[in-house]
């Protein structure tokens, strides 16, 4: 595989983003079934998890239930998490998004098999990360990158991230040909990636 330069740069971003040095300690205590650790994880990631879930389900009471379920899921699956190398933040956010998408899918009578079947919210995937969540400078870069998207690109990104729609579902939703939708998504993701890597403080 030709390793794209921007992928190396993205890793560099990952390496320079803000780390919570105590995350390893939190992960160790999570695995040791230390009941106090959930409160600390909530203090660190609860508001963001709630925000993402609320954005997806658009119902405060449901969002609260799903935040609770997300942290419970993190608690019950923590055994698979490598305390030394794990990145708790991205894992928790992925779990939260999955819970919310599962919920709206079940309400709509559809099954969202996305990452749950792929098991990519399994803690193992989040091991060997040097990174945690982005810091404020990089978040600003993400926001700038999002603002550079065309309206069509923003629409499909919104549908992908916050509704979990597949290409064919998006095509149906916005009444566009499948090929067009694929192009929009591909170019939008590339814009985000490029914008982030171009400004990566290496």
């Amino acid at each position: 595989m030709k390793v794209p330069v921007d992928s190396l740069l993205l890793l560099a971003i990952a390496a320079t983003v803000l780390r919570f040095p105590e995350d390893g300690d939190l992960a160790r205590r999570l695995k040791a079934r230390d009941g106090d650790v959930i409160g600390e994880l909530y203090d660190r990631y609860g508001r963001l998890a709630y925000t993402i879930i609320l954005r997806i389900v658009r119902d405060h009471a449901v969002a609260e239930d799903l935040v609770q379920e997300s942290f419970l899921r993190v608690w019950t699956r923590a055994q698979g998490f490598d305390a030394e190398r794990g990145a708790l933040g991205p894992w928790i956010l992925t779990v939260a998004r999955n819970q919310a998408l599962d919920y709206i899918r079940s309400v709509q009578g559809r099954v969202w098999k996305g990452m749950v079947s792929a098991d990519s919210d399994h803690p193992g995937v989040f091991q060997d990360w040097e990174s945690n969540l982005l810091d404020s400078v990089q978040l600003e870069q993400v926001r700038t990158a999002l603002s550079r998207l065309s309206e069509n690109q923003r629409t499909v990104i919104e549908l992908a991230y916050f509704e979990g729609l597949s290409h064919s579902e998006m095509a149906e939703r916005i009444h566009q040909p499948l090929g067009t939708v694929k192009t929009w998504i591909r170019s939008a993701l590339k814009t985000l990636r490029d914008e982030l890597t171009a400004k990566a403080p290496v």
């Binding site: 595989m1 030709k2 390793v3 794209p4 992928s7 993205l10 890793l11 971003i13 990952a14 009941g35 959930i38 409160g39 909530y42 609860g46 508001r47 963001l48 709630y50 925000t51 993402i52 609320l54 954005r55 405060h60 969002a63 609260e64 935040v67 609770q68 942290f71 419970l72 608690w75 991205p90 956010l93 992925t94 998004r97 098999k113 996305g114 079947s117 792929a118 990519s120 995937v125 989040f126 060997d128 990360w129 990174s131 969540l133 982005l134 990089q138 978040l139 993400v142 926001r143 999002l146 992908a160 991230y161 979990g164 597949s166 290409h167 591909r186 993701l189 985000l192 990636r193 982030l196």
Partner: protein
């Protein structure tokens, strides 16, 4: 599938929005432990958490933290609370019934008797649950046999011994079962008298510290219902303490 084309697919995969066919191809490829693709998947997930993190923050209600914390650490008194709820419902029903029946005080008496009995049961149940919840409690099983009495002892050096038994024959009138803690090289010590229910099942908890290192076994015998200071019949459900 070539790794060349995977990068873009992996971003979609990480978002969980691939159609089933493409997804299973990626699943398969990742199962083959392709290290390039595993790294690319991490990058894709990093991009995802970046985009997800960029949303304008909402403020959850302050009570949510406690809910989250309590969901992994259930309040200790949960079971007794359920009983108290039942007792409260009964009390309410009692008051209502008494009023409906023009203060038929005998009903009130009966019902409050039931409440008292429920409260006793609730306390007993709560003690038993607390004992089982204690992480130091571990099982020690008697050998099972078809239709034979069988039982499992749960021992906790700090708080006692619990026997959960079934297939116990109903004792004769005026008789009951007595549990014994048998120290190494000494006479058995009485550990409480109990009666099985109509199905021959029993849960008996003897509270108090147990010196496990000097305990050889646990057993039960058939004794007068007032209990005996030493076994007077053949012990059964004899189970080594196993230390």
């Amino acid at each position: 599938m070539s790794c060349e084309t995977n990068r873009e697919l992996l971003e979609l995969y990480a978002l969980g929005i691939l159609d089933a066919e493409e997804r299973s191809e990626i699943d398969q490829h990742l199962r083959d432990n392709c290290s390039n693709c595993t790294a690319a998947l991490r990058e894709a997930l990093a991009l995802n958490s970046g985009v997800l993190s960029s949303v304008k923050l909402e403020q959850p209600p302050a009570s949510l933290r406690e809910r989250v914390v309590n969901s992994v650490r259930p309040p200790r008194r949960k079971a007794p609370l359920a009983w108290m709820g039942l007792a409260a419902a009964l009390a309410f029903a009692t008051v209502w019934l008494g009023w409906e029946a023009n203060r038929r005080s005998n009903e009130l008496t009966v019902a409050s008797g039931r409440i008292r009995s429920l409260q006793v049961q609730s306390d007993e149940l709560s003690n038993k649950l607390d004992f089982l919840r204690d992480p130091q409690t571990r099982p020690a099983s008697a050998a099972p046999g078809a239709n034979q009495p069988r039982g499992t002892y749960f021992v906790n050096p700090r708080s006692g011994v619990m026997l959960i038994a079934s297939n116990l024959p109903a004792p004769a009138a005026g008789r009951a079962y007595e549990m014994w803690i048998i120290p190494k090289g000494q006479a058995p010590r009485p550990a409480g008298v109990f009666l099985p229910d109509a199905n021959g099942s029993a849960v008996h908890l003897q509270t108090g510290p147990v010196d496990l290192t000097n305990t050889a076994a646990f057993a039960i015998t058939d004794e007068p219902e007032s209990g005996s200071p030493a076994p007077t019949t053949q012990p059964f459900l004899v189970t080594p303490a196993g230390t």
